[in-house]
């Protein structure tokens, strides 16, 4: 059929096209016949589906592992993270649930070995090579800052933030914008009034035991913004705590952070009691009161009351109060 078509083109006089067409048709014809002979002789079971355009199957030959020298550069076989190739790894690895009465399946055609992430590209030699290349970009830690105490002295502000790496629909993690700022109040330049005002302003963000003020900012969408907001808060707190307002003069005893014994009802009571007991010698009242205050037992009583009020009522403080009262009243 094809040959007849070629002859027809010849008769029309388009010699070039017809020559090409003739050659192609002849090639196709010869190829097809050669193939059809092979396919009919060999793979009858395949139903002849692969008969058109199918190359003869070659034997796989020896796997690459047989040709690998022992002292080869492994980094060139597995330079980066690649799935496991059984013919490129010269190790007799077996993986999977053992066959009944036998061992785990071998590595050839083993899907379990392909599924698990492998570290063949990160052998110790490869890691050393990578680190040698990365060394020029690293800087050294300053040798003067050996201990944490020195670090705290020179760099008191600590900024803590988190980064997250995971696979998912999105690379971003909204928790990465949170910034924690931690400072020790002893490292800031504050006087007594400023310190008390700062503690009142800050409230729960201050930890008494460790003397650390921690500010957590997460209101802004970016970490840079949260960091700048935290620094702004610290600046504002510092400057506001140094300010003395007019209404701060109206601070009452109930606003005080710590209990102070001077001019308190407890002091008046103990002095009145002692005067009535007529412990001290006769004299003017003011002098007598001063003498009483200067006594050791009264000082002990003062310490025990202050401790009770500040720390609360635990066993030790109650015992101390009891001893002090006994000494003062000579019981």
């Amino acid at each position: 059929m094809a040959l007849l078509g070629g002859r027809m083109f010849l008769s029309l006089g388009r010699s070039n096209i017809s020559n090409l067409g003739l050659k192609q048709t002849t090639n196709r014809v010869t190829y097809a016949t050669a193939l059809s002979v092979n396919s009919s002789a060999g793979n009858k079971e395949r139903g002849g589906r692969g008969s058109v355009g199918r190359r003869p199957r070659r034997d796989p030959g020896e796997p690459r592992t047989g040709k690998m020298p022992v002292d080869q550069d492994w980094a060139s076989v597995y330079p980066s993270a690649t799935p496991f190739r059984s013919n490129a790894v010269p190790l007799p690895v077996r993986m999977g649930y053992p066959v009944k009465g036998g061992v785990s399946p071998e590595k050839k055609g083993n899907l379990e070995l392909v599924k698990i992430p492998n570290f063949l590209h990160l052998t110790p030699a490869a890691i050393k090579k990578h680190c040698e290349a990365l060394k020029p970009f690293c800087t050294e830690w300053p040798s003067a800052l050996d201990t944490d105490a020195k670090c705290d002295e020179h760099f008191p502000i600590k900024i803590q933030s988190s980064d997250y790496v995971s696979a998912g629909p999105s690379v971003r993690n909204p928790s990465a914008r949170i910034v924690h700022l931690k400072v020790k109040l002893s490292s800031l330049n504050l006087d007594e009034h400023a310190r008390k005002k700062m503690l009142k302003l800050v409230g729960e963000r201050y930890c008494k035991d460790s003397d650390i003020l921690s500010i957590k900012t997460d209101c802004c969408p970016l970490r840079q913004q949260n960091y700048e907001y935290a620094m702004y808060l610290l600046t504002v707190l510092y400057h506001e705590s140094w300010k003395i307002e007019a209404w701060e003069a109206e601070k009452t005893a109930a606003d005080m952070e710590e209990y102070s014994w001077e001019d308190s009802p407890s002091q008046k009571n103990i002095l009145d009691t002692l005067l009535r007991m007529k412990v001290a010698g006769e004299g003017e009242e003011a002098e007598v009161r001063e003498q009483l205050l200067a006594r050791g037992e009264v000082q002990e009583y003062k310490d025990s009351v202050v401790r009770l009020k500040n720390e609360g009522a635990n066993e030790n403080s109650m015992l101390q109060y009891k001893e002090a009262v006994k000494k003062v009243l000579n019981v």
């Binding site: 698990i116 992430p117 570290f119 970009f137 050294e140 502000i157 600590k158 790496v165 400057h239």
Partner: protein, 152 residues
Amino acid sequence: PLARCCCCCCCCRFLPTDEPDTLFQKVVVLVKGHDRAVLDSYEFFATMAAKELGITMAKVFEPPKDIERLTLLKSVHIYKKHRVQYEMRTHYRCIELHHITGCTAQVYLEYIQRNLPEGVAMEVTKTAMEKIPDHILEPMWKDHPIDDKPSK
């Protein structure tokens, strides 16, 4: 510290800058995965890389694993008494690095994260140290005394 230079020539891409390097007092790398063996290998890789780059490692430990279990109905329709139970195990590994500079931290973390195996997640918590900024050293009311306006 080095910074990329804007010129397109391939010979020198990094030039030293005068920008002060950040100092990290602590960098905590927490790796999470479903397979303990993978995390073991990753830990070996990370510790070796830290040793080669000269980074001090404070602690390398394994927090206890989390198991999330759920009980579902085995069948699509009815058969309430027949259920099937699944569990998801998350194993952790924690590596704490102390006293590391910003440049070294960037290099190490980028190296670690590029070689993070599939199916493993990482959380890095950095604690940077800073000096007290100049505007907090002295209160500003000393130079500029407050006016007598009542504050609200």
